[in-house]
């Protein structure tokens, strides 16, 4: 055992020495990397570290932070009913819009892949436009306006299905479903572009070999040839889908109001915004952020290991 350790340490020492030597020779690389690395550390790495640190304290910006231990997490999970509601809503949204949006992105990218070139580029613009159009989803608040001037209400009243306008964004029954529709509408984003581009790059000769080997229809072609070739894009698209699904906040806040009736449209990100930007309980807000980040990270790990099995 002792021998093993001493050998292990010697090996490590050697590796470190090699690395240092290499590092000394590639000073230029570090010089090029430095501006980005400094800013990246400052605005992306440091915030996560600080966030984890503050999540164990009580901190309200004015006073210096007071150490609390895991108190914040305990009260989040055991005492904060609204947070549980937020977790429930976030999971509802993530479970429905995440996979559905991901599958939609791939499905449409795949379907438009065989169209002639100019039709395809128009189709890409049309499908991608909603996710890039920024605040355009606000237009849904005109569709679903609570009074008789709203288009959906007007249509339903004309058809005689309802006789009084429905308050779409004030009635908790309708809030989440409508938000999900809006999120799905915007879900053909970066992942979709990656899929479109990736599908174009699949080697044609593989398909021809497939015909020789007796692939009968497009579904078999999809499973045996296209999907295995698309694995790197699928992994990338998964990250984008998870990020989108868990960070829902703007859509619900702008459409359903903040705070929404009965907290029916509150998500984890809204809760975080509430404690961080309105109540200034930074320690508590950081605990929420840490939980949200952990959830996204674990979900990403799980999906990546799942996707590695695709088509094998």
């Amino acid at each position: 055992m002792k021998e093993f350790f001493s050998k292990y340490i010697a090996l490590r020492k050697h590796n470190a020495q090699v690395a240092i030597k290499k590092a000394k020779r590639s000073k230029m690389c570090y010089a090029f990397l430095a501006p980005y690395a400094i800013l990246f550390t400052l605005f992306f790495i440091a915030p996560v570290v600080i966030s984890i640190f503050f999540s164990f304290t009580y901190y309200n910006v004015l006073e210096s932070p007071r150490f609390l231990g895991v108190q914040n997490y305990v009260s989040l999970i055991l005492e904060d009913d609204i947070f549980l509601q937020a977790i429930k809503n976030t999971f509802m949204i993530a479970i429905i819009t995440g996979p559905l949006g991901y599958i939609m992105s791939f499905l449409f990218a795949w379907l438009i892949n065989e169209l002639p070139r100019w039709v395809r580029s128009i189709a890409v613009i049309i499908f991608y436009a909603p996710s890039i159009a920024g605040n355009c989803y606000v237009i849904f608040s005109v569709f679903f306006r609570g009074d008789a001037y709203g288009h959906v209400n007007a249509l339903l009243m004309k058809l005689g299905i309802i006789d009084a306008p429905i308050l779409w964004f004030i009635n908790p029954t309708y809030m989440l479903p409508i938000c999900m529709v809006v999120i799905l509408w915007m879900s053909l984003g970066t992942g979709f572009l990656s899929f479109v581009a990736g599908l174009q790059g699949v080697d044609r000769s593989q398909f021809e070999a497939g015909y020789m080997d007796g692939i009968k229809n497009r579904w078999q072609e999809l499973w045996y040839i296209t999907l295995p070739n698309m694995k790197p894009m699928l992994l990338f698209g998964a990250i984008m889908a998870i990020t989108q699904a868990f960070n829902v906040c703007d859509v619900t806040m702008q459409l359903c109001g903040y705070p929404s009736t009965d907290y029916a449209a509150r998500t984890i990100a809204t809760h975080l915004f509430d404690y961080g930007s309105t109540r200034f309980e930074m320690g508590y807000a950081c605990a929420i952020a840490t939980i949200l980040f952990l959830m996204m990270y674990l979900c990403n790990k799980a999906i990546q290991s799942l996707l590695r099995r695709v088509g094998t």
Binding site: Y30, F32, P35, A197, I239, I242
Partner: protein
């Protein structure tokens, strides 16, 4: 002569596309597919058309019952109103517009240069720490604004940048998405190109600015569109308090909160906000798709 050549080449390609149907496809299936795609495309695009038509409606049409989808007497009054009525307010509409344009342009330019420099060494050189750093960047794609907003505020405050344009511009330089796409694309560049330049006596900076950057132009557009998308929609209310430094999306919220009289202007701002990213995307679509082809994550 060369132009003519090109045309004939394209024609041959075109013919082939029609001729070479895949053997395992049925015509009925293809037609069903086209109809399905057309329907979905209509549903996807409808809200955007509606947003534009709403902005063209005069005020009385916005409140007609039953409401019409398309404007009957389209006018540009709402857009003019943005500058006329908001022109008299304390902070004019054009000022909000300038703020957003300035932040977007500055943030995007800096991001393009800094991220490309880092991407260049990460893609083309092997040095200790490079791989680990890139892994961190791929994880950081998941950090969106809300997870890091509080510590970010503390950091920006410590740097003394609160309530300046820098509070928005500098963090945008380090956006991980741009570095990720740029690095993936640069890996496709032949290493021999760089080596040849080095033998000719160019130093690293020359290689980067004169050889690498002109060769990755498609990736520029991609970085630009992602950066613009993030900055153009930035409400920036967390970091900026002075009214005269606030952004267009913030102005939109204010206008929409202004009640019934401002409905038309609200619809017009929405279109202004929406048009810019979509226009950039339309002009640069083929370049962006070229870059995205290398966006995959390898194990």
């Amino acid at each position: 002569m060369s132009k003519k050549n090109k045309e004939t080449v394209e024609k041959v390609y075109h013919k082939k596309l029609i001729k070479r149907r895949k053997p395992n496809r049925s015509i009925a299936g293809d037609i069903a597919l086209y109809i399905f795609l057309a329907l979905v495309a209509f549903v996807m695009f409808f809200p955007i058309i509606f947003a534009v038509s709403n902005a063209l409606k005069p005020l009385d049409e916005l409140f007609r019952f039953p409401p019409k989808i398309l404007a009957q007497n389209p006018t540009f009054d709402n857009f003019a109103d943005l500058f006329v009525t908001m022109g008299k307010s304390w902070v004019t509409f054009s000022r909000y517009l300038f703020n957003t344009v300035f932040m977007t342009a500055a943030g995007t330019a800096g991001h393009l240069i800094i991220a490309s420099m880092a991407a260049f060494v990460l893609a083309k050189y092997d040095f200790p720490g490079g791989g680990a750093f890139f892994k961190l960047v791929t994880i950081a794609i998941m950090f969106t604004g809300y997870v890091t907003v509080i510590p970010n505020y503390l950091i920006i405050n410590a740097l003394g940048m609160v309530d300046t344009y820098w509070a928005i511009i500098i963090p945008a330089f380090a956006s991980p998405m741009g570095l990720f796409l740029m690095k993936q694309f640069m890996e496709g560049l032949p290493t021999s190109l760089i080596e040849a330049a080095k033998i000719d006596g160019a130093n690293e900076w020359r290689v980067f600015s004169n050889i690498v950057m002109p060769n990755v132009k498609p990736a520029w557009m991609t970085l630009i569109i992602f950066s613009v998308q993030g900055l153009w929609n930035n409400r920036a209310t967390t970091f900026i308090y002075s009214e005269e430094k606030k952004t267009l999306p913030f102005a939109m919220q204010q206008i929409q909160a202004g009640g019934i009289a401002r409905t038309g202007q609200g619809a017009a701002v929405l279109v202004v906000l929406m048009v810019v990213p979509i226009a950039i995307f339309i002009f640069s679509e083929s370049q962006i798709l070229e870059t995205m082809a290398s966006s995959g994550l390898k194990d």
